[in-house]
């Protein structure tokens, strides 16, 4: 029996019961599209988290000022005043696993230009910050080490700040006031977009950390040290070296807690990817259940179909169909049902995923893998769940099938 004929017979049989075939396929359509939508939501989350973490910079290590307790009262992170710019210099000099770094502190402040004003975060860093984060300027330049040494009143601004203060005017060389102190804009940063925590990274003003410490905050200590390791596999080593050096420099006794906290990018990355992988797995497995339910639907319908068409099977056998011809016929039928359902499911799923990203503003990422997997899975379901009813049909005795009422 040739394949085209089998396929035609299968399509005809399915066409004869259009409503039933449609409803059976609906199970597979829902299953496949659920898998695609769920996995794409999970993958989208994962991809956005990953790109997020990448945008933080490469091999980043953050040393944060730790907690301090005074008289049994423990205060939050950043409450110690022991982390100073000299710590950063010492780490750069003495820790071979550290490539680059800068002290860092943050505040927020009103900004004024002409008759425009805007409030934004103000960060104080050294030029190394831009290198580690791989953040270029689109106009002007970043400030230099000599600006840091001289605590010069210069700043680099993000696009959001530029938009709000300058309204299309060229900001380079203009003077803006931060807490009433005039700063010269020397650079405009490239757009970075939203960060993982939802804050707009472009809504920022960056000044030399010395300027921020001396002229704006009048402080001698910093909140963070923003460092980068030589390579990814040196991260742990770098962590140990920093801990040793800082404990020594801060004169922390054996047995006492650190007065700082070290966070590495790989810690965050692995945590974030683990979370999103679990999310993807969870969503995917929930969706797979509906796919399996769809498969059982196919088996159900094929069983009914075999029963209902027992006479037809008998006729075919009387005319010379072998068991395997009947087997193939019913297998092809359930395969067509599930494959067709799978294809429609891909269309619905892809559309659904796009809709989710449009409506819920949730990033989705339709992976080829999830499409290939779900079409493969649904076809396999067709073959798997179709086999039992098909074999039942094939093993019928011709005379029993013919006499079946």
């Amino acid at each position: 029996m040739n394949f085209l004929f089998t396929l035609k017979t299968a399509l005809m049989a399915l066409n004869r019961n259009r409503l039933r075939s449609g409803l059976t396929m609906l199970g597979i359509i829902i299953g496949v599209s659920a898998v695609i939508i769920m996995v794409s939501v999970g993958q989208g989350a994962k991809a956005s988290i990953e790109s997020e973490i990448k945008s933080m910079g490469t091999n980043v290590i953050m040393v944060m000022a730790g907690n301090r307790s005074s008289g049994g009262m423990r205060q939050g992170f950043g409450s110690t005043q022991t982390l100073i710019p000299k710590d950063a210099d010492a780490i750069l000099q003495e820790c071979p696993a550290i490539l680059n770094g800068t002290p860092m502190l943050n505040t927020s402040s009103p900004l004024v230009y002409g008759n425009q004003n805007w409030s934004s975060s103000v960060s104080g860093v050294g030029p190394a910050f831009f290198i580690i984060r791989d953040w270029q300027t689109t106009a002007g330049n970043i400030f230099s080490d000599s600006d840091v040494r001289g605590a010069n009143k210069v700043c680099v601004i993000g696009t959001e700040v530029a938009k709000n203060l300058f309204q299309g005017e060229d900001p380079i060389g203009k003077i803006i006031r931060i807490k009433k102190i005039p700063f010269k804009v020397v650079g405009l940063l490239a757009e970075k977009g939203q960060s993982g925590s939802g804050q707009n990274q472009d809504d920022t003003v960056i000044v030399p950390y010395t300027t921020l410490m001396k002229r704006l905050l009048n402080r001698t200590y910093v909140q963070n040290l923003f460092l980068s390791a030589v390579s990814e596999d040196q991260m742990t080593e770098a962590k140990t070296q920093i801990t040793q050096l800082l404990r020594q420099r801060h004169r922390i006794k054996e047995g006492s807690d650190d007065d700082f906290f070290i966070g590495t990018q790989s810690d965050i990355t692995s945590m974030a990817t683990a979370t999103s992988s679990i999310l993807t797995l969870l969503l995917g497995s929930v969706a797979s259940i509906s796919l399996i339910v769809g498969g059982i639907g196919i088996m159900n319908i094929m069983l009914v179909s075999v029963r209902e068409r027992t006479r037809e099977i008998g006729i075919r056998m009387a005319l010379g169909a072998r068991g395997k011809d009947i087997l193939t016929q019913f297998m092809v039928e359930s395969f067509v049902l599930s494959a067709l359902g799978g294809l429609l499911g891909i269309l619905v799923g892809t559309g659904g995923a796009l809709l989710v990203s449009q409506i819920a503003k949730w990033p989705t990422y339709i992976s080829i893998l999830s499409i290939v997997l779900s079409i493969g899975f649904s076809s396999a379901i067709g073959i798997f769940f179709g086999f039992y009813p098909a074999r039942m049909a094939a093993q019928l005795n011709p005379i029993d099938a013919l006499r079946f009422e």
Partner: protein
């Protein structure tokens, strides 16, 4: 060598705890070119005998040789091949695939033996024209009348050039005129093409269209005799009005 030869054929069914002896040692043979009617009351074993002859059912004992081949030695696939190549079936309920055209129904047996598309079409059309339905080849089987459906079934039985046609009560669901029409076709196939036909019927007048009658009772052959008062279907047809209207017009009927 006879075309069909059965010796001491038995068939036992199990119906729950009861054993039903449908055939209790049947021996007979059919030569090539014969037209045989198998008669008997229901439960006499004639249908079981037909099913065994058609390789649709396996006997419990005895020997069945078709063209000298002992059928009991064959497996399921080989039996399917025998049904496909050597036997043409005609059933009481026609057993056509519904919502399938007459042409496709006739093509169906050839789907299971790798006949080329062109040859399949040509042979199916030829068989349909033998039964006078060539112009209705694209009608769905359920759009045809009972007599037409049975003619499609005859075309289907013919199409693989079988050694024998087995007809199980072919006129059982037809009115008297279409019954005679069907017998006319079967007689022509037997006489003009020399096709061997074995037919089950319980109607005595239908059996008169054949040449030889086997009478079954209680799973055995009661008698086996040649038909004495043989009927010619085409002559009978001329005496039966074709339709009710003709009957009314001629003023003879009712």
């Amino acid at each position: 060598m006879p075309l069909l030869q059965v010796e001491h054929l038995t068939k036992v069914y199990r119906m729950g705890d009861v054993e039903v002896h449908a055939l209790r040692g049947v021996s007979a043979s059919v030569e090539e070119g014969e037209f045989v009617a198998i008669m008997g009351a229901s439960g006499s074993g004639k249908s079981t005998f037909m099913n065994v002859l058609g390789c649709l059912d396996q006997p419990s004992g005895g020997i069945y040789k078709l063209e000298g081949i002992d059928v009991s030695t064959l497996n399921r696939d080989e039996l399917a091949r025998i049904r496909n190549q050597k036997i043409g079936f005609i059933f009481q309920q026609f057993n056509l695939l519904s919502r399938t055209s007459a042409l496709e129904n006739v093509e169906l047996p050839m789907m299971y033996n790798n006949t080329s598309n062109k040859e399949r079409y040509e042979k199916a059309m030829e068989a349909l024209s033998i039964v006078g339905l060539a112009e209705r080849c694209h009608h769905f089987s359920n759009q045809l009348s009972g007599g037409q459906q049975q003619r499609v079934a005859i075309a289907r039985a013919l199409v693989n050039d079988p050694s024998i046609i087995l007809a199980d009560e072919p006129t059982g669901n037809l009115d008297s005129r279409t019954s005679v029409e069907v017998m006319d076709i079967l007689q022509k196939l037997n006489e003009e093409k020399g096709i061997t036909i074995v037919m089950v019927t319980h109607e005595k007048d239908i059996a008169q269209y054949t040449r030889r009658n086997l009478f079954f009772r209680d799973g055995k052959i009661l008698f086996d005799k040649d038909v004495e008062d043989h009927l010619e279907a085409n002559k009978i047809l001329q005496s039966i009005p074709a339709t009710l209207e003709e009957e009314m017009l001629s003023g003879e009927g009712i």
